[in-house]
């Protein structure tokens, strides 16, 4: 039998956290921000089919960074949770707070009990009737949950994105303005050409970095504050396709 060395619990947790943090920082950023028209969700995403942003329920959306397979399984579990809850109680009884606390428990359990923690960071957003009633929850790999005000940036160089958002965010931003702010913040966080991510762990080749905002692939969606204008009446989530996004960015 091999000799088991003693490792302190603090060290185990620190190692796991470092592992997860590294994985999350490798990816590209996602921004969720509240504006007058609703909640805008913008992600830098080269794929047009592997989404980082998704619909959960009538007024609730999901955004994630990190490993796709991990956050996708969490997204699907969230959709199941919300649909079962809405089916057995009422549609109005499905809330972002409830979903976020279920996510927190799942992430917390996986962080301590599984072989490796999830390398993901999630945001759960719920659009309210007014901007003050908007909820944005941020969930980290260890199951920590934070109730964010106004906006949240995750993944990649989130600190730089957050700094750019802090500078530009104000109450009552229009949808076009909010999308432009999010795009600006994402661009600002990109490494300058030449000193990009080191080979192997960066998704983005450095040569892409110098491209203007509209040239790099963006995935965007909005939780509409007044879904009644649309056919389905209840579902607030709208994905913005490339043409619509371009239109809004140039508005």
């Amino acid at each position: 039998m091999s000799q088991q060395f003693y490792v302190s619990p603090e060290q185990i947790m620190k190692d796991r956290a470092d592992f997860a943090r590294k994985g999350i920082a490798r990816g590209r950023s996602v921004v969720v921000l509240s504006c007058a028209a609703g909640i805008a969700l913008v992600a830098e995403n080269p794929s047009s089919s592997l989404h980082k942003i998704g619909e959960i329920y009538d007024r609730i959306a999901f955004a994630a960074v990190g490993k796709y397979n991990e956050f996708e399984s969490l997204r699907q579990a969230g959709v199941r949770y919300a649909d079962v809850r809405g089916f057995s109680y009422d549609r109005s009884d499905v809330t972002a707070r409830g979903l976020a606390s279920v996510y927190a428990q799942s992430l917390g359990t996986v962080f301590t009990a599984e072989q490796k923690p999830f390398e993901v960071e999630l945001a759960v957003a719920e659009v309210g009737r007014t901007q003050d009633e908007d909820h944005i929850f941020r969930l980290t790999f260890d199951g920590s949950i934070a109730d964010e005000r106004h906006f949240v940036a995750m993944g990649g160089r989130a600190d730089k994105v957050t700094a750019a958002l802090e500078e530009g965010w104000r109450d009552g931003l229009g949808l076009g303005e909010a999308l432009r702010l999010a795009t600006r913040a994402l661009v600002a966080s990109r490494p300058a050409p030449g000193n990009g991510a080191s080979a192997g762990d960066g998704e983005a080749p450095a040569s892409e970095a110098a491209q203007p905002a509209e040239a790099f692939a963006l995935e965007a969606a909005v939780l509409d504050r007044e879904p009644g204008r649309w056919r389905s009446k209840r579902r607030a989530f709208r994905r913005l396709d490339a043409a619509r996004l371009k239109e809004l960015l140039q508005e």
Binding site: S49, H51, G54, E55, I56, N69, S73, L74, Q76, A77, V79, R80, Y81, D83, V84, G86, F87, S88, V102, Y103, Q105, S106, T109, V110, E114, R231, S232, R235
Partner: protein
Amino acid sequence: MSGDAVRLAAEASSSFLEHLSATRPELLPFGVTPVGGAAALQVPHATTIVALQTASGVLMAGDRRATMGTLIASRSMEKVFPADESSVMGIAGTAGLAVDIVKLFQVELEHYEKIEGTQLSLEGRANRLAAMVRGNLSMAMQGMAVVPLYAGYEPSAPTGRIFSYDVTGGRYEEHEHHSVGSGSTFARGALKKLWRPGLEEGDAVRVAVEALYDAADDDSATGGPDPVRQLWPVIYVVDDGGSRRVSEDVVKEAAAAVVAGRSAQSREA
């Protein structure tokens, strides 16, 4: 949920019905098996639904009456519902179960759309509904049958399509028009005479109202237009823009025109 999150992807289903059957079967409308016969059980029944193809898609209409034995259980029941943004369904049979099956079917379609990121084909949606009707078979054997009528817009055709079901989950595509429920015999007779290809929406509404009027005329379980309570049939249309409910005013006008037309003739029928 952590178990759910780490479950093998192949085991995960895009179907809400399968998920519910596996995890919360007690929530299914047909999750409870009745003990003994339901012959003595008095439960509300929903009645006549008509659907017809129009120039731009399809239209579905239902009367407002629910009966319980010889009593009227409800005068204002709605039996036609939007299933999703481009299809509608109507229900005849045991009202309590039928309304729950509608709710389940609506969640099933939305659930698939959210999990997969694309909409189910019209054929696929019609098949999912067949699975639900079949799920209700043991209840149907006890006398609590649910018979839906499903209609949607097929963008590849492009036209509206109508599907009918039997209690065993058999699915049949109907052409031109169809009707289900206790007054369906009379409604179908009317549709055979009134329907013609390429009906515009306004004319189609009139035809549907007239067919329901005929059903109500001869079937005690089908309700006619009710000017006292201002209750008119519920009518939905589906075209390439999606499904929408025809406004009360339009239906009221059509009902008034049908009644006026019949009165003017001052004949027995």
